[in-house]
Amino acid sequence: MNRPSLWEALRGVVRRDLLLAMRRRSDVAMSVFFLVIVASLFPLGVGPEPAVLKTIGAGVLWVAALLACLLSLGRVFTADYLDGVLEQMVLIAQPLPVLVVGKVFAHWIVSGLPVVLLSPLLGLQFGLNGEALGVLVLSLLLGTPTLSMIGAIGAALVLGVRGSGLLVALLVLPLYVPVLIFGAGAVTSSMAGIGGEANLSLLGACLVVSLFFSPWATAAALRIALE
């Protein structure tokens, strides 16, 4: 029996997870609607003054994206953990970090990409325009994969633990803070006229670092959860 290559294994995992997500579209729709509702709550709570909304817009959208990602973290590993697929993934000859990358990538496509695509629309609600909207989309495009990467570590650590939904928030949110600061900072600084490049570069750096370390940490956490 010939062993599939790394690339094939990665593609297989991504394909399978996307297929599973497509069979349960309501799950995907839920986190998107959550984002829209949270973002719409702020103008109702803070008041509809355009000047205020413009200043808080980037931060609110980033926090909403962060929470949407957090809520969907339970879906990355839990189902596979419960029906035993995860155990098979640990046992097969392919390196676990590579499979983790596949699962996280699929999670990002399902929960991160809709946020990125929807953000210009929500940005308009907050009176962001022109360049700021572009920077918002770009910052989310760079930031949401980092969120998924870091979140995967937390999701793997709390597998099968009681109260895992709340616990994963406590573990992961502190680690999300730099991404939030740089992401919202990119939009605010581009609105202030100093350009968002510095913050966007830092976001890119966060992405690279998390891409490098997170699969290993997640794989280690999965092994601990399954032993």
Binding site: I153, L173, L175, V209, A217, A225
Partner: protein
Amino acid sequence: MNWSKYSAPLSFYPLAGKMVPWFSVLAALAIAVGLYIGLLVAPTDFQQGDSYRIIFVHVPAAWMSMFLYVVMAIWAGIGMGLKARLSFMMAQAIAPTGAMFTFLALLTGAMWGKPTWGAWWVWDARLTSELILLFQYAGVMLLRTSIDDLRRADRASGVLALVGVVNIPIIYFSVKWWNTLHQGASVSMTAAPKMATIMLTAMLLMTFGFWMYSIAVVLSRVRCVILERESQPAWGNPSAVSEVAEAR
């Protein structure tokens, strides 16, 4: 002498018990002298008045909060690498002390900030990252307590502690990277300190005292952890432990 003997919780228990009083005495002495010099001998600052004296607690506490986190992560790492139970117990024992120092640093910082900056709290880079450090300590402790299986609890919180080490350089260099309200370091390894010798003496004494305090507290806590975890009938109570240890 065979040092690896003490990697067994059973033989470490009496050794820790012997070390605790020494470190406690050293801690009490250093903190008492440090506070005396800091509060009574050191001159009043010409700009900040007497309120600057809080740094004799604030700076050592902030150093300890970062340092203890790294030590905790190192113990967790050793535990995972060598599969040593005692290392995980040390990591578990360090966490509450580290969290306490983080809280102390934030609290004293707020008390200093009110008269000097005019605000209890500002969203400055260093303050925020120190607050995140407190959350990380909380996360590590909470993850440990919510997993029932001890082996898994140890290793899972170890992974989390190691991941969180990323934050330590961010806190340490935050005043350099982002030029925000919190002032830069007055004391560094590479340059002459930018403060009077007498103040530096008090601060270093306090730091030494906090170190000794941490060691004493961690050792006594690790003794409790050992008792809690290894409560086998043969040596479930402290007197039985020392008997076993003496018999060896």
